[in-house]
Assembly symmetry: C2
Homo-oligomer: 225 residues x 2
Amino acid sequence: MAISAPEVHRAVVEHLVRQAVYSRLGKLLPRVASAPNPLVVNISARHCHLTPEAVETLFGTGHQLQVHKWLYQEGQFAAKETVTLIGPRSRVISNLRILGPCRTLNQVELAYTDAIALGFDIPLRLSGNIKGTPGGMLMGPNGFFEMQEGVIRALRHVHMSPADAEFYSVKNGDSMKLGIGGDCGIVLDKMLCRVDKSFKLEVHIDTDEGNACNLQPDTPCELVK
Amino acid sequence: MAISAPEVHRAVVEHLVRQAVYSRLGKLLPRVASAPNPLVVNISARHCHLTPEAVETLFGTGHQLQVHKWLYQEGQFAAKETVTLIGPRSRVISNLRILGPCRTLNQVELAYTDAIALGFDIPLRLSGNIKGTPGGMLMGPNGFFEMQEGVIRALRHVHMSPADAEFYSVKNGDSMKLGIGGDCGIVLDKMLCRVDKSFKLEVHIDTDEGNACNLQPDTPCELVK
């Protein structure tokens, strides 16, 4: 009988090893090792969040989203299902990934490069704050679903637990900076802190931000107040 | 008889007005007004540079590029002509703009978002330094032209005259930082200085960088050593 290993994120393992090495050497822990949790920086490609009603309209009555891949935040997943987004210039984005579980509102998150290609003029918004934003038409195998609003560029943000917030001396709603190294390094200002005890320490940036600095798994990143 | 006004860039006019206002008020010039030239930051969308031979293969014997729009750097222009770039995943980018005048090498400059969409794995290179970079197939109305190499992401850089370089205390080949403000501000590290007496002060960034920070004509920018 095969026993599958528990799924532990590579960053967590690296962080634990780093802490153990410094501890064994009897050395003072540098800032990155003394943090309660490893800093994970992930690029969110364009995606959408949907209500159960929208999922049924697009995929059929009673349809439930299926898990394609679990994400780093507990309980969040990329669904097997994707939709087509139809923009105002008659251009489309196919295979727009749905993230689950379902929410109480419909929201499409695009990078500006996506929005310009599609012909959308979209605002920068905190996820969930979609009042007055442009809508759009979604197409699924069972039909169309028209969003009256909800197409946004999501504000860059960092999820953190209260222990992480204490370590960085920040509170929910504060802004931080993320320094990203490498040959085309950048510093991202105005990184919003979202603190909740259910959150794991993770920065979410979009594809424009990730590609501007060519973020790779081994690119050094530093979160600073 | 209509006399057309000389074409002066808006940034130059603003700079002159700023200098005049401070001078009239008898106030000390702040750093931005005391600079010899205004700082112009432009986003270069994906484009290509071609040899006269490539232009003839793509557009027909004897074909010469026609000016669509003059660029900020003296003598440089966006041509009326565009080509189609065919990527390794059978995806294409249509309407890839050619910049003129012709050069002694063929080079396609893409943002990483473009390259990922097309299936290219491209390196970050200084323009002109294309040895060992991937090639690609171009299609024009008169035929195909295969580039053996030359598809790159161009290193972010700033063109400057010797007077600008003196003001910023830098020399050709040095690195600077560009701070870009606004709601999703960033700092771009490793901005290469290219100094030549024919250059006007202008930063060139690509669409990933420009869209990461939503650069608009009125976004405040600061170039620092």
